[in-house]
């Protein structure tokens, strides 16, 4: 895949600008999209910013490599033949539910001087005390958070150490190590990112109790319509009695 190294921040910080080469797509609709996929290309669309939406076709191997290596929070340079290269982000992608094949890509133009809202993945490191010592279960409740920042300041991921977590303690979005000068948290600070819960114990009921519970449980669910009808009939009966 074409990859270009570019220096930013006075040459100290180096960033990669990944290039996506695309062609304009003339054929529309599902039949055209299917023919395109048969030919080893993926339908895509480039929209947002000042320009008009453009229907594109991208090489499937290049698109897969982009998804696998760079991910979605990366600024790409989309090169369309006969047009100026555009800076864009991967806004969305569709996969086949069974085979996992890439079906479609959404690319959104970004202006490098305008703050944007993106979802950033939260990764955890370390084994919590509550799991190691107390035998609890570590659960990640929220896997990504929404932040606002300049496109050049998008964190690749937010890594947080959870080794101090004990049973019943939560790590919240407000506790995440973010640089307030560059990144503003949009997700509510009280949102639980991860916690350690006490292990669940499966209660095996005694055979007698299980049989009694089975007998007590209704064999059929309540029919809403029937209940309403009976209630109406009851009201009518009371009305006549008066």
């Amino acid at each position: 895949m074409p990859r270009r190294r570019r220096c930013a921040g006075g040459g100290k910080e180096k960033e990669f600008i990944m290039v996506i080469e695309a062609n304009r797509r003339e054929e529309r609709g599902k039949n055209g999209a299917r023919r395109l996929r048969q030919a080893g290309r993926v339908p895509a669309v480039l929209y947002g910013g000042a320009g008009e939406p453009v229907a594109l076709a991208v090489d499937v191997h290049q698109a897969k490599q982009v998804l696998r290596t760079a991910g979605h929070n990366v600024i790409y340079e989309v090169q369309v033949e006969g047009a100026e290269p555009a800076r864009a982000m991967l806004k969305d992608w569709q996969l086949d539910p069974v085979r996992g094949d890439l079906l479609h890509l959404d690319l959104q133009r970004v202006a490098m001087d305008v703050r944007i809202r993106v979802r950033v993945s939260v990764q955890t490191t370390g084994e919590p005390v509550g799991v190691k010592v107390d035998g609890g279960v570590f659960e990640r409740v929220t896997r990504d958070i929404e932040v606002e920042c300049l496109p050049s300041d998008i964190p690749e991921e937010i890594v947080v150490d959870v080794s101090e977590l004990t049973i019943g303690k939560q790590l919240r979005a407000g506790d995440l190590p973010l640089d307030p000068a560059k990144v503003r948290l949009i997700t509510e600070p009280q949102r639980v990112i991860a916690h350690v819960i006490a292990p669940t114990k499966e209660e095996v009921p005694a055979p007698e109790a299980a049989a009694a519970a089975e007998a007590a449980a209704p064999a059929e669910p309540e029919v809403i319509k029937k209940v309403r009808k009976e209630a109406e009939e009851g009201e009518e009966g009371e009305g006549k009695g008066e």
């Binding site: 539910p97 035998g135 659960e139 292990p199 114990k201 669910p221 309540e222 029919v223 809403i224 319509k225």
Partner: protein
């Protein structure tokens, strides 16, 4: 056994199971999952058998999510009954599953344990399934 608490109508028509599961086909809660590769009616008994197999295997560790619910009644006429005289009585409750649907999800355990537990659950299912992980590895 799993079944709805309230229903609007007691019996349903069978319906068709065409297409793929465009919803409920990605991991939403856990790290590992069991994905259906074919369509099927999965009964409340099969779901319960899989749940019991998983919880007994993982003992007290880990967390399990069941992503399908048997909300469709299927009816059956008694044996040696002449045709007619209306639709049969509700026999069981089933979940309509299409290819790609995530059936179970697990978290809080290592991949090897999750794979073994979901393999037990897969043996309770009437269709071929696939073990999937959040990072895309199968």
């Amino acid at each position: 056994m799993l079944m709805p608490k309230k229903v609007k109508y007691r019996k349903q028509q069978r319906g068709r199971r065409t297409g793929k599961a465009w919803r409920g086909s990605t991991l939403a809660f856990g790290e590992y999952g069991l994905k259906a590769l074919e369509n099927a009616w999965i009964t409340d008994r099969q779901i319960e058998a899989a749940r019991v197999a998983i919880t007994r295997f993982i003992k007290r560790s880990g967390k399990l999510w069941i992503r399908v619910f048997p909300d469709k009644p299927f009816t059956k006429k008694p044996a040696e009954t002449r045709m007619g005289k209306g639709k049969g009585a509700v026999e069981r409750w089933v979940a309509v599953v299409k290819p790609g649907r995530i059936l179970f999800e697990m978290a809080g355990i290592d991949q090897q344990t999750a794979r073994a537990a979901l393999d037990l659950a897969a043996h309770k299912m009437p269709i071929p399934t696939e073990f999937i992980t959040r990072d895309g590895g199968a």
